[in-house]
C-alpha cells in the first residue's frame, strides 16, 4: 500500500516537473483571448452604419452617390441624370471612439456623429458573443424653408438619431447586425409623421470570396397603421468589393438619402417592389496618421 502511494507520489512529481517544452508552448496560448475583427468591411453596411469603427489615428473618406429611380427608363438614363451625393469624413480618436461629419446634397443637410464601441465579440477565456457599438448623430438641413408664412426656427431644422448596433460575426463569411434605432425630428413634414420614430434594422453580409461580399439591409419602422401605409421602409441589397486600399460598395435601394434621419423616417423613400429602385455606390479610402509602427 505504502509502496503504491509513494510510487504515485513520485509519478506525480515527475509529471509536474518533466514537462516537454512543446506542452509549455501550447499552454501559453490556452489563456489567450481572441478578439473578432472585420465583422464588416466598411463602417457602413449599405446605407446604415455598421459596428465597425475607424482605427485610432486613421482618417476615412467616403464619397457616396444615389441616383434617381430606374423606372423612368431612358428619359433620364435610368436615374443616372438625377444624383444625390454625400461626402463623409470620419476619424478614429481612439480605437473605440470615432467622430464623423457629413454633407449631403439632399436638403443641403449636414450631420455630425459619434460612434462608441461598448462591447467586442471575442473567443477564448472571456468569450463574448456579440459586438455592440453606440451611434448617435445630429442632423441639420440648411435649405430654405418653403413655408415662409410659418414661424421657422433654427431648432426646426434639427434631427437626432440614437442607435445601438449589435452584431455577430457567425463565421468567416456570415455577419449579421440588429439595429434598434430612435429618430427624433423637431419638425415633421405632415401630421402623419411622428416626432419620435422607433425602428429596428436588420443588416448582414455574406462573403463569396475574401474580397467580394453580398450585403443586405432593412429597417422596420414602428408607426400607427394609417401612417405605415404612407411610407416605405428602407431596403437595400448590394455588394462589397475590396481592392488594396479602397472599399467599393454598389447597391440597389429604395432611397436616395444617405443619413439616418432621412432614410429611416422614409418621407422620400420609394416602393422598391414597384420599380422605385435607385442605383448607388459608396467608395471609401482610409489614410493612416500613425507615427509609430
Amino acid at each position: 500500500m505504502k509502496t503504491i502511494f509513494l510510487l504515485i507520489f513520485v509519478l506525480i512529481t515527475n509529471i509536474i516537473y518533466a514537462q516537454d517544452i512543446d506542452d509549455l508552448l501550447d499552454g501559453e496560448f490556452d489563456n489567450s483571448n481572441n478578439y473578432v475583427s472585420a465583422t464588416f468591411k466598411s463602417t457602413r453596411i449599405i446605407n446604415a452604419n455598421s459596428i465597425e469603427l475607424v482605427k485610432k489615428q486613421h482618417l476615412n473618406f467616403t464619397i457616396s452617390h444615389r441616383f434617381g429611380s430606374i423606372n423612368n427608363g431612358i428619359s433620364d438614363f435610368f436615374g443616372i441624370d438625377r444624383s444625390t451625393i454625400r461626402l463623409n469624413l470620419e476619424y478614429g480618436l481612439k480605437d473605440w471612439f470615432t467622430v464623423g461629419i457629413d454633407r449631403s446634397s439632399f436638403s443641403q443637410t449636414y450631420d455630425g456623429y459619434f460612434k462608441f464601441r461598448l462591447l467586442r465579440q471575442s473567443t477564448g477565456k472571456w468569450a463574448i458573443p456579440v459586438s455592440i457599438t453606440y451611434f448617435t448623430s445630429f442632423e441639420v438641413f440648411t435649405r430654405k424653408f418653403t413655408e415662409a408664412e410659418r414661424d421657422n426656427y433654427l431648432s426646426s431644422r434639427l434631427s437626432y438619431v440614437h442607435q445601438l448596433l449589435i452584431a455577430r460575426k457567425f463565421n468567416n463569411k456570415l455577419s449579421l447586425q440588429l439595429t434598434p434605432s430612435l429618430v427624433h425630428r423637431n419638425l415633421v413634414p405632415t401630421a402623419l409623421d411622428m416626432n419620435d420614430l422607433y425602428a429596428v434594422g436588420l443588416g448582414g453580409r455574406y462573403k463569396i470570396t475574401n474580397r467580394f461580399a453580398i450585403t443586405a439591409e432593412y429597417f422596420y419602422t414602428i408607426r400607427s397603421p394609417r401612417s405605415s401605409e404612407a411610407y416605405n421602409n428602407p431596403i437595400a441589397i448590394g455588394v462589397d468589393i475590396e481592392t488594396g486600399g479602397h472599399v467599393f460598395q454598389l447597391m440597389l435601394t429604395n432611397t436616395s438619402l444617405m443619413y439616418e434621419g432621412g432614410f429611416i423616417t422614409g418621407n422620400n423613400n420609394d416602393n422598391f417592389f414597384k420599380g422605385g429602385i435607385h442605383f448607388g455606390f459608396n467608395i471609401s479610402r482610409t489614410f493612416s496618421f500613425t507615427k509609430i509602427k
Partner: protein, 185 residues
C-alpha cells in the same frame, strides 16, 4: 519504511535535476517581417512571441499569435488577417525544431555562438521543413538570439491576387530577435 522515503526523495531529486536542466523562455520575443517592392514597402512587427529553449536536448520552439502583428496602416493589418493569412481560421504560427550543434554551445559560459537550427514551421495550416542559422550570445544566464530567414507566401498556400501582385514581394524577410531568460515555474 525509511528505505521508501529515501528512494522517493532520491527520485524527486532526480526529477528536480531534470527540471533544472535549464529551460530558457520568453513571452516577448520580437519577430518582424518586411516585404520590399519598388511600389510599396510593407512592415509588420510582433513583440509577443513566445519561445522555449531546452539547452540539454537543444529543442527549441516558437509560438506566434498572428493577430499580434502590428502594421503602420490598420487597413493593411485587417487585409493581412482577413484576406491573406486568414487568422480566424489559422490563429497561430508555430515552429518546432532542434539546434543541431547544441554540443558546441555552453550556456553556462558567456560568449557568442552560431547555432544551426532545423525544424518544422507551420503557417496558414501548412507545415514546412526549414533550416536556419542564428547568432546566439550568452551573458549572465541570459541568451540573446538573432536570426533572419526568407519565407515565400506561396509555399504556405497564401494567395496573392494579380491586382496587388506587384506590391507584395515574392519573398518575405523575417527577422527574429529573442531575449531568453531562465524558465522558472
Amino acid at each position: 519504511m525509511n528505505k521508501y522515503i529515501l528512494i522517493s526523495l532520491l527520485l524527486i531529486a532526480v526529477s528536480l535535476k531534470v527540471l533544472s536542466q535549464d529551460i530558457y523562455y520568453t513571452k516577448s520575443g520580437l519577430v518582424e517581417f518586411t516585404s520590399k517592392t519598388p511600389l510599396e514597402n510593407i512592415e509588420a512587427v510582433n513583440n509577443q512571441v513566445v519561445s522555449f529553449l531546452k539547452t540539454e536536448s537543444g529543442s527549441i520552439n516558437f509560438g506566434i499569435l498572428i493577430k499580434s502583428f502590428k502594421f503602420k496602416n490598420a487597413l493593411m493589418e485587417e487585409h493581412f488577417n482577413e484576406n491573406y493569412i486568414e487568422s480566424d481560421e489559422f490563429p497561430k504560427a508555430k515552429f518546432k525544431g532542434t539546434i543541431t550543434n547544441i554540443k558546441d554551445i555552453d550556456f553556462n559560459k558567456d560568449g557568442d555562438y552560431t547555432a544551426e537550427i532545423k525544424g518544422k514551421i507551420s503557417i496558414h495550416g501548412v507545415t514546412k521543413e526549414i533550416e536556419a542559422k542564428a547568432e546566439i550570445s550568452i551573458k549572465d544566464y541570459k541568451v540573446i538570439a538573432n536570426s533572419t530567414i526568407m519565407l515565400k507566401p506561396e509555399d504556405f498556400d497564401i494567395e496573392i491576387p494579380g491586382i496587388v501582385r506587384e506590391k507584395i514581394a515574392k519573398e518575405m524577410t523575417v527577422k527574429m530577435s529573442i531575449n531568453y531568460e531562465l524558465y522558472k515555474k
